[in-house]
Symmetry: C2
Subunit: 127 residues, 2 copies
DNA sequence: ATATCATATAAATGAATGTTGATATGTTGA
DNA sequence: TCAACATATCAACATTCATTTATATGATAT
């Protein structure tokens, strides 16, 4: 019999009714690409290190290079990526170009993801 | 003269002193790879749609396929990726395999990133 | 003007990723 | 056992991405 399948289909229908009212955290589908785009910017360890470093105030490229011990072109590349996602702002001062964190909420996001990772990993080992 | 450069170097040194005390949101370097890994899982629009859909309760693969109008192998692939990052849990029930959101905080992260994206884009147009 | 410093860009490469189409595995009901 | 369904895996492909090395652009000081 196909009872199980039919029940399954009904559950699907019920669960998809008015999805936006069930949880205020639900986002509209149109906003997901932007979220994915920002998340992609946060998906590289070196970029996260850069963001964290410049969160202490504007930093020049050479300062980032020295602090993170990465090659200058690599840092420039990642900064270009971060600029493309608007996560950093740029300001020229004399020969230096300073990069600054555009929105401190990305630090909150990083912090939350870190906690989630810790919890998920510890739960993983609990069995 | 090299005064400017020297001053620059001093500023760098001052700003990097005791970085962990300056802002409690600063993470240890060792935790950044985990954050990057989770962010990578959130960096695809289809995966975000899946996460959002299953946030309403456990969903079978076929339910996801129908709701999101994606091919079944593609959904399976993304679910495998989400499982790899521990963001979803799996439970077999009869012929169906149900996926569930492992941690609702990823919804908060998505929401925050959405707000950040909105604000950054609107600031972009303000000039 | 020119040498030096700060940063960006270009070219090349290897690795990872998203997607599709075809096929395999596993479960259920007859 | 067998047919039908649910899901996973495989192979192939195009694309993106992180990184390196080399070079170009732009600002400053002499």
């Amino acid at each position: 019999m196909l009872e199980r399948r039919i029940i399954e289909q009904e559950k699907i229908k019920m669960n998809t009714l008015q999805p936006s009212q069930k949880d205020k955290r639900i986002l509209r589908d149109e906003s997901l690409p932007s979220v994915a785009f920002l998340a992609k910017s946060l998906s590289d360890g070196n970029r996260l290190r850069i963001l964290q470093f410049i969160s202490g105030g504007k930093k020049s490229v050479s300062a980032i290079v020295e602090e993170l011990e990465l090659s200058q072109p690599l840092v420039s590349h990642h900064l270009k990526e971060l600029k493309r996602s608007l996560l950093v702002t740029v300001k020229r001062e004399g020969p230096f170009i300073y990069y600054e964190l555009a929105d401190s909420r990305v630090l909150d996001v990083m912090h939350t993801l870190s906690e989630v990772a810790t919890d998920l990993l510890s739960a993983r080992k609990t069995f």
